[in-house]
């Protein structure tokens, strides 16, 4: 609806000035602003762009509430008033419907998805084989294991997050505003008996213009074009900090290989994503893993002070793992180039905590890389034995999968790309993920069955030990014991290592229900308290330099492991110039519902009357002004006086 003409821009500027002076009631007669909306944004990598985009002045379309997949015929072919703005219930937000709309995108102005409060049976917008091109398996390394040939990790994945859409896609909550939209559709837009609905119709306008296009190299090149004093950035790199800490402190200015230093790395990932921007809760996908690792770190505090093990244990929490392993690849890069306190030769073994909260049975599974295990120095049975023996008395077993299958998507794969290292990934799934909502906005506390009795206040909920917390505590105990044994600690003290269920449940509450609780407030630095909110933090890695989960984990790690560990403030890594880095752009978002009118009738009438009035008045005025002497003769001497 072009605002292209500069004349309009000038007039509009004048009007804008008037408009901003007062509360505009004419606008309220025309538009309804929608508030609780989240857009899908555009992301780039080295070769492609994914995500959604609207035109620069927004996309407007006639609202159509989709009733079934067959009803798609109306917006895509039969409907007489294209383009349409399609409103989808979550059950219809499927790959086939979205791809059909993508193919007819000249008739679809945008999509709005209503996200319900209860989750559907399963939904994962991620791909079936996460990070398949940036892991360790390729045509040169385990080719039969690459690209999920043996095990499909995320079979429920529909890949929508990695498709490119030319129209904006927004999510709406199930609230009064959405009800209003549906009512407006039912009142005005519904086709009665197959006949076309009459104007005026209900319409919706979505703004989510993204400046980033094509791929990362193009976008970064455009960033470098500085024409003005305030250069406009068209995209930002995804990035944050990793968090790491060790039992024995390292001097953070001494980098590179350390003689006679052997380190056991315990790793977990911090981030997650969803189809829409930032609304990722990643309960099973990431929170379960890093909470377990934090609890294990806390469990190891006393015993490592009393009887320090031979090898050091380094706890690493990687950010950005969803997007082709941003965090772990950076740590490996730094280790390879002597920019980290240890290097790859110092690593004794790696234990990674994957998704551990949704059990399908009592056992947990130990995943390892079959290709590197063919080499006997890497095939370290001790690690497996240490883990399996640590479950004594805890009611579950750790089992290796009985088929030869690759590692699931994990940070360990990036270490293996650089050098063969013994490593295990601990997970609750034997082959495909148990997580039905991998990398989606439904992977929340409900996915972990995290329930609290209804009569508790928030502070009481913080302290209440849920069943989920108890099971994760057991896993943390196993991890802590195994790490201690792996690091060569005193065998007799192993059974004294126990994770604290109270700490686990407090962490689960803080990371999945409300981050603004008394414990987090006590742990966080005073100047950072404002990042705590009454909702769970967002686990999207984002473009800010440190997001809420990074900060929280940083301070919690410091708090739980005491003064013996290296604090992570200035040393944390910045993923800067890396290949295969994804880019994203900050997003303006706006959404409003409006209504318009048939061009043929009143609009043309108005224009016609206007033009007629203008020309008539020009003619009449010209005529009168030339004959003014005659008409208004009393201003001069009477014209007909004859002397």
């Amino acid at each position: 609806m072009g605002l292209e003409s500069s004349k309009w821009a000038i007039i509009f500027l004048v009007c804008w000035l008037y408009k901003n002076v007062s509360c505009n009631s004419v606008e309220q007669k025309i538009y309804v602003e929608l508030n609780n909306t989240v857009p899908c944004v555009r992301l780039l990598n080295a070769t492609h762009q994914i995500g959604c985009q609207s035109s620069i002045s927004g996309d407007t379309g006639v609202i159509h509430v989709l009733e079934s997949e067959a009803d798609l015929e109306w917006p895509l072919s039969k409907g007489p008033n294209p383009p349409y703005m399609v409103l989808l219930e979550s059950s219809l937000f499927t790959r086939s419907i979205m791809m059909k709309m993508k193919n007819e995108s000249n008739r679809v102005a945008g999509v709005a998805v209503v996200v319900p409060n209860t989750s559907p049976p399963e939904f994962s917008p991620h791909t079936t084989c996460p990070n398949e091109n940036t892991g360790v398996y390729s045509d040169n390394y385990g080719p039969n294991l690459a690209h999920c040939n043996t095990t499909v990790w995320n079979p429920r994945g529909n890949g929508l997050s990695y498709e490119e859409f030319d129209f904006p896609v927004f999510s709406l909550k199930e609230d009064n505003e959405t009800e209003f939209i549906k009512q407006c559709y039912l009142d005005h837009n519904r086709a009665v008996n197959g006949s076309a609905p009459q104007y005026p119709l209900c319409a919706m306008q979505l703004f989510s213009h993204m400046h980033a296009v094509t791929n990362t190299p193009t976008c970064m090149r455009r960033n470098d074009i500085n024409f003005s004093i305030n250069p406009e950035m068209v995209c930002d790199p995804l990035g944050d900090y990793n968090v790491w800490g060790s039992i024995r402190p390292y001097n953070d200015t001494v980098f590179g290989h350390k003689e006679n230093e052997s380190v056991v790395i315990a790793a977990a990932r911090l981030d997650s994503r969803a189809f829409f921007w930032e609304v990722s809760t990643g309960a099973e996908g990431s929170v379960s893993g890093f909470v377990t690792l934090l609890a294990a770190a806390q469990a190891l505090r006393e015993v490592t002070h009393a009887a320090p093990p031979t090898r050091n244990i380094l706890f690493a929490f990687f950010q950005g793992e969803t997007f082709d392993y941003i965090g772990s690849s950076r740590m490996v890069y730094d280790m390879e180039n002597g920019k980290f306190v240890i290097d790859l030769d110092n690593i004794h073994s790696v234990l990674e905590i994957g998704q551990v909260a949704v059990h399908s049975g009592t056992n947990l599974f130990l995943h390892s890389d079959p290709v590197s295990r063919r080499n006997n120095t890497v095939n370290d049975e001790n690690l497996v034995n240490n883990l399996q023996s640590s479950t004594a008395g805890l009611g579950f077993l750790l089992v290796e999968p009985n088929v030869s299958q690759p590692l699931p998507p994990s940070s360990l794969q990036r270490f293996l790309r650089a050098q063969p290292i013994p490593g295990i990934v601990l997970a609750d799934h034997e082959s495909a993920f148990n997580n039905r909502y991998y990398e989606s906005f439904y992977d929340n506390a409900a996915n972990l069955n995290l329930t609290y009795p209804s009569d508790l206040s928030p502070e009481e909920q913080l302290e209440f030990v849920t069943d989920t917390a108890k099971s994760l505590t057991d896993v943390a105990t196993v991890v802590a014991r195994a790490l201690y044994k792996q690091a060569g600690g005193d065998e007799s003290l192993v059974n004294t290592i126990k994770a604290d269920p109270k700490i686990v449940t407090q962490m689960l509450y803080g990371f999945l229900v409300s981050s603004n609780n008394s414990w987090f407030q006590a742990v966080m630095a005073p100047e950072l308290k404002n990042i705590l909110k009454p909702s769970p933090p967002e686990y999207y890695v984002g473009v800010a330099m440190s997001s809420t989960p990074t900060r929280l984990v940083q301070y919690l790690l410091a708090n739980l492991t005491g003064a013996a560990t290296n604090l992570t403030q200035s040393q944390c890594q910045k993923p800067d110039e890396l290949p295969n880095e994804s880019r994203q752009v900050g997003v303006p978002l706006d959404l409003s519902v409006c209504r318009w009118i048939d061009v043929q009738r009143i609009t043309m009438l108005t224009l016609g009357v206007g033009v007629a009035v203008l020309f008539t008045s020009l003619l009449v005025t010209y005529f009168i002004s030339t004959k003014a002497d005659v008409l208004f003769s009393s201003t001069r001497e009477p014209a007909s006086a004859a002397y």
Partner: protein, 252 residues
């Protein structure tokens, strides 16, 4: 799409004022100055009256809608009265200025007659009043949407423009009549103008019953046009002169 509505409404509301400006005012710089000053006087009157209304609304309960509506009506009546007061004030200012201008002018006699000043002052009031009425609405007509979702009439934009047009022309005619009345010391004219202005305002309260508001306003506008024509020296004889295309006989 609704650029058509924007231009249509802009032409309706400002077309006659624009053409009057082009053909009668633009060539003479003195007239332009009087026009702008007139617009400014109207603006000051609006500012003062809206200050009163603003204080009244802030001092009272914002939730009570009937009270707010009544305050709005009271504020508008006060604004109408203040506008006429400022019109009178402008008349006095122009009379004084006229004497000064006559003294420094090269022609003998004042450069502008009171009638011309009346017309220009009225037009100035009218243009400013029209701008304030219409610009807000015009800017909203640019977007893709139109009025009507909450039950308002679809003819909102075109009727706003027609009302603005009527008001602009009415201000012009009132200016002519008012100044003439002040010149001839006929004070009842002032009272009549004030009453007609109040009548027009109260008719506008009848919106959205557009038939009941727009038609009477246009009828009043025609009556005022006739009155202004006669009070500025026109007569039926002159109109017949026009039609018969008689040439004027100049005094030899």
């Amino acid at each position: 799409m609704t650029a058509a509505v924007f231009f249509g409404c802009a032409f309706i509301a400002f077309g006659p004022a624009f053409s009057l400006f082009i053909f009668t005012i633009a060539k003479d710089p003195l007239r332009v100055i009087i026009l702008i000053a007139g617009a400014f006087f109207w603006l000051v009157s609006l500012l003062l009256s809206s200050l009163v209304w603003f204080i009244a609304t802030k001092a009272t309960n914002a939730q009570d809608l009937t009270l707010q509506k009544n305050l709005l009506i009271f504020g508008s009546i006060f604004s109408v009265i203040l506008q006429e007061v400022f019109r009178f004030a402008y008349y006095r200012l122009l009379r004084k200025a006229n004497e000064g201008l006559a003294a420094i002018s090269e022609e003998d006699g004042p450069p502008l007659s009171v009638r011309e000043m009346a017309y220009v002052a009225g037009l100035g009031f009218g243009i400013m009043s029209g701008a304030f009425s219409m610009i807000n609405t015009l800017s909203d007509s640019l977007g893709p949407g139109t009025v009507g979702m909450f039950g308002d009439s679809q003819y909102y934009f075109i009727t706003s423009a027609l009302m603005t047009l009527a008001l602009t022309m009415l201000h012009t005619f009132w200016g002519v009549v008012f100044f003439e009345g002040c010149e001839r010391k006929r004070w009842w004219v002032i009272a009549v103008v004030l009453c007609v202005h109040l009548m027009v305002f109260s008719l506008s309260l009848l919106n959205p019953f557009y038939v009941a508001s727009i038609l009477p306003v246009y009828a009043i506008m025609l009556l005022m046009a006739v009155w202004a024509f006669f009070s500025s020296g026109g007569s039926l004889h002159n109109i017949t002169l026009l039609w018969t295309c008689k040439t004027r006989l100049k005094p030899i």
